[in-house]
Symmetry: C2
Subunit: 134 residues, 2 copies
C-alpha cells in the first residue's frame, strides 16, 4: 500500500482569530480566486478543538476531508462527524460551521464555487457550550 | 510524520476507451453535478502511459494532483510535468490533455467549474507519437 505525507500542501498562514476559535487553524490558498473559473480553493488545517465561526457562502462551498476527524453542522440541525474521504456540499446562504474534533487534528480542502456571487459572510463564534453539546 | 493511504477515495469505474488511451483509467465521481453549486468533482487514476484524449471544458476545470507523476499539455504549448500538490487551472475552451508518465501511476482530482456552461467536449486521442515526443 502506497503511503505519503498527508500534507501535500504547505500548512500555510495562521487563520484570523476573528473567524476561528478553540485553537489555531492554518489556511493555504491552493487556487486563488479568478473571474473565469469563479472558484477559489483553500487547504485548511484545524488544531484539535478548533472550529470556524458560523458563516455562509453566497456562491456555495464543497469540503473534501483529507485527514483527521471533524464536524460539520448546519444551523438548527445535528452535527455530522467527518472523516478522510468525506465530501460535504454547502449550498449558497446555508449558515453552518466546521472544525476539528476535540481530540483530532482535521484537514480539508474548501472549494468555493460561483465566487462571482461572493465567497464568505462571517457570523458569530461557535460557543464552547454549542461545541461541547454536539 | 503522519502517513495514510493515498487513495482516500475508491478507485471507481473504468473510464471509457473512447476517451482514454495508452492504458486504463478509473474515475470515481466524488461530487455529482448539480445546478446550485454548478460543480462536479471526479477523482481520476491513470495507469502508467494512460492519458485522456484532447478535450476542452466550456466551464473550465481545476486539477489537484494527489499522487504520482503525470503531464498536462495545452494545444500548441510544451507539456508540463505534474507532481503531488500541483494545481492546474484550465480556462474555458482551452484544448488540452492530461495523463500519467510512462513509468508512474498518476492520480488527480478534477474539479469542473461553471457546469451550467457544459462539462467536457471530447476530441481526438493523443497519439503515441505526440506522447513519446513530449
Amino acid at each position: 500500500m502506497e503511503t505519503f505525507n498527508s500534507n501535500i500542501f504547505p500548512k500555510g498562514e495562521k487563520a484570523s482569530s476573528d473567524y476561528f476559535s478553540g485553537g489555531i487553524a492554518w489556511v493555504q490558498i491552493v487556487k486563488p480566486n479568478d473571474s473565469e473559473l469563479n472558484c477559489q480553493i483553500g487547504n485548511v488545517t484545524f488544531e484539535p478543538g478548533c472550529r470556524n465561526n458560523w458563516h455562509s457562502h453566497s456562491g456555495g462551498q464543497i469540503l473534501i476531508v483529507t485527514s483527521g476527524t471533524g464536524f460539520y453542522q448546519e444551523k438548527g440541525k445535528p452535527a455530522q462527524v467527518l472523516h478522510s474521504g468525506d465530501v460535504v456540499n454547502i449550498l449558497p446562504h446555508v449558515i453552518h460551521w466546521h472544525g476539528a474534533a476535540p481530540d483530532s487534528e482535521f484537514t480539508h480542502l474548501a472549494i468555493n464555487t460561483n465566487t462571482q456571487n461572493g465567497i464568505v459572510e462571517w457570523l458569530e463564534p461557535v460557543t464552547d457550550e454549542e461545541y461541547k453539546n454536539l
